[in-house]
């Protein structure tokens, strides 16, 4: 909402500087977006009187002027052809910056062809206040010497733009702003009640309200014999300043009243309308018409139209029709000042795809008791500047009821705000805002018609706080409740995320945060988008569904890095994936991605493989508190993984992580080159840890007996999982076998085709006595027997 300072002063008696006004509005909740002060850059320039102008003795085109300025009488050498005695000019003192010429005058008088010049007289172009450069500004009017140039040029009216919050439609009029600022102590409201203009004949137009829910009240009046010329200069200036193009008196008056009092109006050409108007539901094709924006609209029965018996004349509260609009030939007019239901206006405008200043006001809520005032304001302006004769005012319907009175407990001010405020001051604030107060133990507060946002006590408390000033509220430190033990508030999942992130970062991955959305065909590569997760209005077709995996953007990002020459970027992300649109359809994963790139090092180094990424996945799981020693590994990862180089870390049916190489086909579809290793850990799948009453650990029992290590080589089917063999060996003597390490894998000469030799180091830790050779032999026999059951045989 834009207005000019002089416009505000029409309603508000105030001597605030612009900076003070800024502050006052800001602290009353009218958030300033921009203040444009056209006079600010003209501060150095003022009016001066040219007493005398003589030809320069040494230059034909120069004149030596004697000028009366705010700094006294000055001798100024001037080259303008129009410099003459008796004119009022714009004076720039020595040292002044001339914006249009982009230079500053010397601080000391300069000799021009031998004669000192003590300043400059400027054209409007030179001070960027106009286009005129034929000569120096020759001001009309009787300006005392030293008048600021901005004032003399009519450029001293700052334009203020501020944000109107949706709860305060009354701020969409300058009067409403003034009323609020007066309450906030920024001045005195000087505009009284709207004056009535008596009618001299009965209104010849009748209005019928056929849809009172949409249009419950409609005031109208006819004015005959108007001359619809240009509106007065002051009105045009104000409208121009706030970005409204002046058209003619009738249009400008409706716009002016709309911005002055937040009161939209419409004016019909009497010659084009019938004697009876209806505010009714639209009738589809039959009501099709061209509106003032030159577009054709077809209002349906959920849209309100104003019509006569012949045709639809416009969309009520939104925009009038072209047919009945006013032109310069219009002499007799009918003024409409009605009230339209905000929800119906909003729905209509949305469905018809139309916007207007009237719609903006009605959808936020216009004062329902303002229709007659609106008519009177417009009448006074039209009669003053266009002449004519006004009819009586006709009012159809009744204004919607005011909001109910609010029962108000003044003690709530202290309780909610922490602010000590006397009851008298509370009443004073409410009354200054237009509320009616009846005091008692509980107060009864009546709500003014323009404050339909106020329905309960909290609404009043807000206004009291706002006007009393938020600066005056106490500042009270907010501490943890006294006497309560500090308990770390993080949840188990939060701690898991933290730890898993640190694990990944410690292992060389950089944490990234990537979009929660992805492209639907990319989602399809990773199992497809979940139910209900397609966006209706995506920001781009690249990001049109919620992602089913955190891998997509990480994969494309390592490729982007490679394209920039960074071969071995390693990224991880801890974030959401989306399986369906239910709250528990969102899960938290930690995913990591790196390309298979051999590090080049003088000591030699191989490329990472699936076991490196498996280790990363297991480290993240372990950090997150998963029981990694109990995990099973299976080779059945989903389709986006390399079928032979990927795996699943699971606890029975629960999938805790997938890891491995990404399927080359998936990479190709994502335009990713080479081989890429990745893991995705599903943190929600990790079983919750049991809370223990005590944090003490069981006593540490150390055996003083030496552990025995024995090596075995087994042959087994190369396609069988080695984990089964290790598990079987471990299970041979659960009490005594503490570790089984696979230290060699061999295929080739000496090993039958299709088999693999697996060399295991088994650690046997005696508990109570040293084992005899016989006992160790017995354990060995069990190990070999178990291995055989798992399909392996001791290598001969």
């Amino acid at each position: 909402m834009k207005f000019t300072y002089s416009w505000l002063k029409e309603h508000l008696d105030t001597d605030l500087s612009l900076a003070q006004l800024d502050e006052a509005m800001t602290m009353a909740g009218l958030e300033i977006e921009e203040i444009e002060d056209p006079g600010a850059k003209l501060a150095e320039f003022s009016t001066a009187y040219v007493k005398d102008a003589q030809p320069h003795p040494d230059a034909d085109k120069l004149r030596v002027c004697t000028v009366e300025t705010r700094d006294g009488i000055k001798q100024i050498v001037c080259g303008a052809p129009n410099a003459r005695a008796g004119m009022t000019a714009i004076y720039a003192p020595l040292g002044a910056y001339i914006p249009g010429l982009d230079f500053s005058l010397d601080k000391k008088p300069r000799k021009i062809r031998g004669i000192e010049s003590h300043g400059m007289m400027c054209s409007t172009k030179e001070i960027e206040a106009g286009e005129d450069h034929d000569g120096i500004a020759d001001l009309k009017g009787d300006w005392p010497v030293g008048t600021p140039a901005a004032e003399a040029l009519g450029l001293n009216d700052p334009v203020i733009d501020f944000e109107v919050t949706p709860n305060r439609p009354d701020w969409l009029g300058v009067y409403g702003i003034a009323r609020d600022l007066a309450a906030a102590g920024a001045g005195t409201l000087k505009t009284g009640p709207v004056k009535k203009v008596p009618g001299s004949f009965p209104c010849p137009v009748t209005v019928k309200l056929d849809w009172p829910e949409a249009c419950p009240i409609f005031a109208g009046r006819v004015i005959r014999g108007v001359k619809n010329g240009p509106s007065p200069e002051w009105m045009q200036k104000r409208l121009n300043a706030i970005g409204i193009k002046p058209k003619n008196l009738l249009v400008d008056v409706t716009n002016y009243v709309s911005f002055d009092y937040a009161r939209p109006l419409h004016v019909y050409d009497m010659a084009k309308i019938g004697p009876v108007l209806y505010a009714r539901k639209g009738r589809g094709e039959a009501d099709q018409h061209v509106a003032l924006d030159e577009k054709t609209y077809t209002p349906s029965e959920s849209h309100c139209v104003i019509a006569d018996d012949e045709r639809a004349l416009g969309l009520g509260g939104i925009m009038g029709g072209q047919y009945s609009g006013c032109s310069s030939d219009t002499t007799d007019v009918f003024i409409e000042s009605a009230w339209f239901d905000p929800a119906i206006i909003r729905k209509s405008a949305r469905e018809l795809g139309i916007d207007s200043d009237a719609k903006y006001r009605f959808e936020r809520g216009v004062d329902p008791e303002s229709p007659v005032d609106g008519i009177e304001l417009a009448t006074a302006l039209i009669l003053e500047y266009g002449g004519g004769e006004a009819s009586d005012v006709t009012v159809s319907g009744t204004a919607p009821a005011r909001p109910d009175d609010i029962i108000f407990d003044p003690a709530r001010i202290k309780r909610l705000l922490g602010l000590e405020l006397s009851e008298d001051r509370i009443e004073e604030i409410l009354v200054s805002l237009g509320f009616g107060v009846t005091r008692g133990e509980r107060w009864t507060v009546s709500v003014p018609s323009w404050r339909r946002d106020c329905a309960q006590q909290a609404d009043l408390i807000e206004d009291v706080a706002r006007i009393a000033g938020y600066d005056n509220l106490p500042v009270v430190s907010f501490r943890r409740p006294e006497g309560e033990r500090f308990e770390a508030p993080a949840t188990e999942l939060q701690n898991r995320v933290r730890a898993a992130r640190r694990s990944a970062a410690n292992r060389g991955y950089r944490e990234a945060i990537t979009w929660s959305f992805c492209r639907s065909d990319q989602a399809d590569l990773f199992g497809g988008v979940g139910e209900g997760l397609v966006l209706e209005n995506p920001i781009s077709s690249e990001l049109d569904v919620m992602r089913p995996t955190a891998l997509i953007h990480l994969l494309t990002s390592v490729q982007k890095s490679a394209d920039r020459g960074f071969d071995d970027a390693r990224f991880f992300e801890a974030g959401p994936i989306y399986l369906n649109d239910a709250p528990d359809g969102q899960q938290t994963v930690v995913a990591g991605v790196r390309r298979v790139v051999a590090a080049r090092d003088w000591r030699g180094e191989g490329a990472p493989d699936v076991f490196d990424i498996k280790a990363d996945a297991m480290a993240a799981l372990e950090a997150a508190g998963a029981p990694v020693d109990k995990l099973q590994v299976t080779a059945d990862a989903r389709d986006h993984w390399h079928p032979g180089r990927s795996g699943v870390l699971r606890l029975g049916p629960k999938v805790l992580a997938e890891f491995g190489e990404i399927h080359p086909r998936t990479l190709k579809a994502l335009d990713v080159d080479g081989r890429v290793l990745a893991f995705e850990v599903f943190l929600d799948a990790i079983p919750a840890t049991k809370k223990k009453a005590l944090k003490a650990r069981p006593p540490l029992e150390l055996s003083g007996l030496m552990a025995v290590k024995r090596d075995y080589a087994f042959l087994m089917d190369a396609s069988a999982p080695s984990a089964e063999l290790i598990k079987a060996v471990k299970g041979a003597e659960k009490q005594l076998i503490t570790d089984v390490a696979l230290f060699d894998v061999y295929q080739g000469q000496g090993v039958p085709e299709g088999q693999v030799s697996l060399a295991l180091e088994v650690t046997i830790q005696p508990t109570d006595k040293t084992l005899t050779d016989k006992e160790i032999e017995a354990i060995s026999a069990k190990i070999i027997a178990n291995a055989q059951k798992a399909g392996a045989s001791l290598r001969g």
Binding site: T26, G29, E31, P166, A343, E363, R364, R415, L417, G418, A458, E462, A465, Y470, L473, V475, V476, S477, F478, R479, E484, A490, T491, R498, R501, A505, N506, Y509, R510, E511, I513, T514, W515, S516, G532, L533, L535, E536, N537, I539, S540, M546, S557, K560, S561, A569, R570, F571, A574, P576, Y578, D581, P583, D584, G585, Q586, A599, D601, R603, E605
Partner: protein, 360 residues
């Protein structure tokens, strides 16, 4: 020639030989030749038995003395030779230690995650827990329960992403703020409530200063006595702790949010120091967050009695806090992984923001 002068000659010879021994083998040969079973000195000692007691009394100590002195000489020479041998071996083992070590890939944590951890620490100290909620929300939690009536202009201020809805169903949305977590928390727990809710939020907007996804942190307090003075105190203490400054000049401006009343925006003083921003003092105001007392309609929506319960809520942009504190000039790279950016603006995984050792 006396026996003792013989011994002197022998000692002189053997001593000279020991000194001259060039390696451990030669030295050992000398030891055997002198002190071994058949060594010169050993043989002489054997002869002691044949001597008269008087002779023995002279020659016994003399021979023992000689033996001891030769042993000492042998030990000393042995140590010298061993040292020399080790030095030679070490010299052959030497490497160029100025060669570089293996390059370990450096990992890092994202600055947004770091800032979220800092927020959690600061607010934990004030008794706040961290709550979370889903990104795909229903209309009730994102709007209606937060006192955005259906079809109200206030909804226009949120550039909402809608999900495709099945016929006849209300479309779900991507949460436009973290405030729905307020609703979920109030519906699922009993006051007193103190939570912060950090997380991803979504608005349909993408330009120089907006991304379609960004991060917010929401705060909520519900009890019977917390008033707006506490809100001011809480947030001013937060700003001081977060920006690690003693001087915080802040102002609270009236504003409008559907879910709080009274509502405010908090501005802090700031100044530019080069490209960076110093928060807390200076000549300009910068808006950093929105806040207010929880609207009675919101409290009611969550099944609590607004006559009995009250409290405050606040919300702020986490990415922006990160930019202000750590000096990133542009929001966009936050969500476009680039190892150089992540390295420059990221944090060590060994760092854990906490009260005892600091935030960062």
């Amino acid at each position: 020639m006396t026996a003792s002068s013989d011994l002197d000659a022998l000692e002189a010879r053997l001593s000279a030989d020991i000194e001259a021994a060039s390696d451990l083998a030669a030295l050992d040969a000398l030891r055997v030749g002198a002190l071994g079973k058949k060594g010169e000195v050993s043989l002489k000692m054997r002869e002691l038995g044949k001597m008269s007691p008087e002779e023995r009394q002279v020659m016994g100590p003399a021979l023992n003395g000689l033996k001891d002195r030769l042993n000492t000489l042998l030990e000393t020479r042995k140590a010298t030779l061993e040292d020399a041998a080790m030095n030679a071996a070490l010299a052959s083992e030497s490497v160029d230690v100025t060669r570089p070590v293996k390059r370990e890939a450096q990992g890092s944590l994202h600055p947004v995650a770091q800032v979220m951890e800092e927020l959690a620490v600061i607010f934990a100290d004030m008794g706040f827990a961290v709550a979370e909620g889903p990104d795909v929300e229903d209309d009730f939690h994102n709007f209606t329960a937060l006192n955005f009536p259906p079809d109200h202009p206030a909804r226009d201020t949120h550039d909402t992403f809608f999900m495709k809805a099945a016929e006849g169903e209300t479309a779900k949305v991507l949460r436009t703020h973290t405030s729905p977590v307020q609703i979920r928390t109030m519906l699922n727990s009993k006051p007193p409530i103190r939570i912060i809710a950090p997380g991803r939020v979504y608005r349909c907007d993408w330009d120089q200063t907006h991304t379609p996804m960004f991060h917010q942190v929401e705060g909520l307090v519900i009890d019977k006595e917390t008033h707006m003075g506490h809100l001011k105190g809480c947030l001013m203490d937060f700003v001081a702790a977060f920006f690690e400054t003693d001087t915080v000049e802040a102002r609270f401006r009236p504003h409008h949010f559907p879910f709080t009343e009274p509502s405010a925006e908090m501005d802090v003083r700031y100044e530019r120091v080069g490209d960076a921003v110093k928060v807390g003092s200076g000549d300009k105001w910068m808006e950093i967050l929105g806040c207010g007392m929880v609207h009675p309609n919101v409290i009611k929506s969550c099944g609590l009695d607004p006559e009995e319960y009250q409290g405050f809520a606040f919300g702020m942009g986490v990415d922006r806090l990160a930019m202000l504190k750590y000096g990133m000039p542009d929001l966009r790279p936050f969500f476009e992984p680039d190892a150089r950016w992540l390295s420059h603006y990221g944090f060590s995984p060994l760092l854990q923001a906490n009260l005892a050792t600091g935030l960062s």
